[in-house]
Amino acid sequence: MLLVNERAFPFNSGMTLADLVKEQGGDADILLVNGYPATLDTALSDGDRCCLWRRGKVPSAEEMRHLLYARHSPGVQSRLQERVVGIMGLGGLGSLVAIALARMGIGSLLLADYDVVEPTNLNRQQYFVDQIGQKKTSALRDILQRVNPHVSVTIIDRRLVEDDIGVLFQNVHALVECFDDPAMKAAGLRAALHSLPGVFYVCASGLAGYGENNTIRTRRLYPGIYLVGDELSAAAPGQGLMAARVGIAAHQQANQVVRLLLDVENEAG
């Protein structure tokens, strides 16, 4: 059997992608096999997962779900879909971590921030000019719905304190610390270490300016607990937060979350 646009389809020995396109009506021009672009002469194997689509066609809701996930490696998205990730702080780091996780097909996001979108945020945060004045929580939820309507988004619209964190995020599989304030960054790590056993935690420190790319790194602090950043570059007068370097750090955080959720980190090592 093949899986064609997530539906079972009989497999015949010697079948190519061209045969399949013909059987499906012949107009598909976006072709993926097992999450990767393929050409018409690709020989198919039993069990292959194929996605055929005509460029520009507007999908139904059901088709949309299949297409969104067609680029994921088989088995990866089904595991991410069952996971809940919390994000504390929805600025330059948090807004980008959320979008990356939504694009990768995470099941649920729990998003916390107290602030509103300001014009001075737009140099690095993922909001739009027409969202100025909106709460970051609801503004980001709206963006995520446009990226992937199948992500379940819950928002916490308040200023977090250290004692809240262990309670509000007790049911997440992974928690991402994206605060701006260093005191809250320390508070978040203490809360995770004291109150969230078994929850993966990825925090950040040192990502301002336009310093070298490769000084941003991901360091293991404790089992299941990681720190991203160069650990030195504070946001300060003369060294502002800039989209590219904040983005490097945010995407290291998001990738680390995925690695932890997919169990690829050797925690014994």
């Binding site: 508070a187 790590l189 270490l193 301002a208 602090l221 946001a235 937060l241």
Partner: protein, 66 residues
Amino acid sequence: MKVLCNGEAQEIASGTRVADYIRQLGLDIYSVVVECDGRILTREEYGSHELQDGSVLELIRFVGGG
């Protein structure tokens, strides 16, 4: 007396509390997470926890920006 801080031996005065030590390093106590002899200290303990000769400290310092 001596303590080991992030792997380096440091000479400190006896009776030094964790908060004093962090300030001596020029750091803001609110931006530092402290593991002392294998235990993560609560924020309330920074002002009261006295370092002992041979104490092993791990300080994780955060800088602002997010």
